[in-house]
Symmetry: D2
């Protein structure tokens, strides 16, 4: 069985401990430099094997998780956190065949993650009005995701809205989400899902007011706290370090009866 | 465009507000009874439209989310919470084509969710030693998931282990996860992911000790707190009700060098 | 040594387990009725001893904590939670000799607690505009606190403000705290502390804006989550039940240079 | 009225904003140096007034809170956090006249705080076996607390226990709290309170087992998360920075019937 060989060009995580782990692409003979010495990637590389660096540290060759990709993206913007991305899948009807819009592309964290879960005819349409951001998102997608499942559009969505109609889900992560809501309403299937992410509670309130008027229902706003634990012989305790806040996530579903009309 | 018509047999969520919403299957003429009166489902039903019950309450016809399915499963056991399920996708390399083992099937929450994200040759192998539980999981899968992506196995995993080899991910939710670890090790691809869920910190510690000896690395244990917010004209505040604990989630990746051997 | 005898009229906690514990006043011969049977309080009662009820349940005679008092107050309003009250002591310069104003008296939770920490000339001035609430607060104070350290005033503080000057701390728990801020400013010593408690974030924002204009500095807003743990042989885990929100607590200190004047 | 003058030797907080605030003692003519320039303290200093530093930054003269003292102690050890200290007051029957034992003195955070809440005959007995720690605690107490309310004892409590009897509360913050429990039992009044603080869950479990055998009841273990909020015109949101864990706090009350004896 040869299946456990790493293929040329595959992404590997070199794990030398919590303080020394590197995500890289496998190339025969490639030198990986770090504060733990140099590693030369051998001609045949097996998943799970241990390599020894020039300073004697063992590095294991393991498979990167989806979170590893997200946390190591090249960044121009804030990124979605792994703890939060899962919510988007659970509180919508996401499936591999969904047609999804996201705005903005940002650094491509959501783009990369969703591209890896989509299968044609599933598709992600990724909008941004900042060419620099979208360039970064494209690079990250090429490195860590499946570009064939994504169509990028450079466009001022506040003004011009979206091209697509009958999409299943619209994911909004922009400073003024309320400006996108009417455009999202037009693009969504009836009964479809709008998700938006905002750091401040005022943005949540204003956006939900606009959503309510247009006829979105089943609205819900949540925040997530994730805490890591130290599990050791000498004792188990929560980590001292913890992220106190990332974003508030809000959800709603489109109905055909705008509230103003009733 | 006829695409916004609900098809016979499709699942719909009838939304009459946070205190009155029902997940049901569309059948022409079906009567839906509740404390908010009776609704008769009409011959042509459109996504997003509002139906009026016998007591005058409007119910909107919206698409169920993945969380709606999970929270309404018929239950024989505790179930995974939506806030937690997302972690499993993020902290592994899950893709639609993954080969995944879960034990136990439980009430089928994870089974339903993963089945909806898989595409052949992706497959879920769902083990349980309790025929009653697995019967419930099968029913729930038939109602809310994609049975074609799941193979159920009735088996005492503590003793007999798993049939499959070279799987990408093993998800463990049993009272004594440490007994499953050696079996998971055999079934996993090199570099592959073991995930286990435990309510108590002692279970986490004991299981991670067994994992460390076998050669799992990059271990991580986390817990998630999710808080809903009330967003209203009169003021925004967190909900008073909140779940203080569900499960601790732990992750590790298989290497080829068991620690005992070094 | 007779010191361990409970004195007639002292408050005792009868502890028969987490599901059966009662706060009462010791009277010789008193019958205490509960779902765990009847207890007759004997002629000589010792702290820490076990009494057996008519149904055979053992009840231990233990000293009530400050939290026991607060959680068992007769209530007409929401009350302060023990987890929150500690903040008020820590983020002010409270001492036994402080002169403190509170508004409103509410059901007297803060009143009872502070009265027990004050020593003359320390004093609490407790304002409310609702005679019913203040009557309840007075009863609770008489039962659980030190009435000699408290002066009640029935008064519409929004309109009439406070009588006292040169107080150390003003604690505000009313629906429109911003209306109390100018009155608090007048009553506080220079450099003194204003604390207010609000359920909604909009109240916090509006009140802090008024405070900033008047010249309060060192402002700080916090929220507290408290989680209980189950510690048992079979395993340790957080409780499932948890309070998701009580109140936001905000703090500021008076300076002599109103911001508008600079 | 001259009462708003700062007295020679009083502690003041010089507040130049969240990034520039200093706790110091008032001495006429004293120069306070910082990255915001030099401040000379004038002959007459009034609470609440604004002083201008050599770089033009305004510093307000405000009263330090109890938390300001605690967070600025000279440290040799971990210290109690303000969020946690309040719990000790609420979940015991602490009053200004309580007789309290603490072990260890540590850097004196609890020592300073309690000394400021005690009034004779109330007394704190502060034990430590490390002369260096206790020296630091003494210095901090002299600077920020009331030394007249505290008696220090240098002693190995694991081996020798406590001198006092009939105390109201014993507060334990040592690495092996279970070794102190039998000594605490002897020193406590019947019905009195034992509190212990531990970072790891194993310490909690082991100590509570020893307590249960000796006859402590009404046991409770809690943890506290405190989150600060940014309240600004541009939007309100939780702070990104947050402490994920400090200590678990556990409480119990002494009864006269050791469980082993029944």
């Amino acid at each position: 069985m040869r299946e456990d060989l790493v293929k040329e060009g595959e992404k590997i995580l070199l794990w030398g401990g919590p303080d020394a782990n590197f995500l890289t692409e496998y190339r025969v003979g490639k030198a990986v430099h770090s504060h733990r010495g140099i590693l030369y990637l051998p001609k045949e590389l097996r998943w799970g094997e241990g390599l020894v660096s020039s300073t004697g540290r063992v590095f294991y060759v393991i498979r990167p998780s989806n979170a590893d990709f997200i946390l190591r993206l090249k960044r121009k913007t804030n990124i979605f956190y792994p703890k939060d991305i899962g919510l988007v899948l659970l509180y919508t009807n996401f499936s591999p065949f969904s047609r999804v819009i996201e705005v903005g592309s940002g650094s491509g964290a959501m783009t990369v993650f969703l591209s890896n879960l989509l299968v044609p005819p599933g598709k992600l349409f990724s909008y941004d009005n900042n060419p620099e951001h979208q360039k970064t998102a494209k690079e990250n997608l090429k490195n860590f995701g499946k570009p064939e499942n994504v169509i990028f559009r450079l466009r001022d969505v506040y003004v011009c809205g979206f091209v697509e109609r009958d999409v299943d889900i619209v994911i909004v992560d922009v400073p003024e989400p309320w400006k996108v809501v009417p455009h999202a309403y037009k693009s969504l299937k009836d009964g479809g899902f709008l998700v938006f992410a905002s750091p401040n509670i005022e943005q949540v309130k204003e956006t939900r007011e606009v959503m309510a008027k247009l006829g979105f229902v089943a609205m819900k706003t949540v925040e997530i706290l994730m805490r890591e634990w130290q599990i050791r012989d000498v004792g188990c305790r929560p980590e001292h370090e913890m992220r106190g806040h990332t974003l508030f996530y809000s959800f709603g579903r489109k109905t055909k009866t705008p509230k103003d009309a009733t």
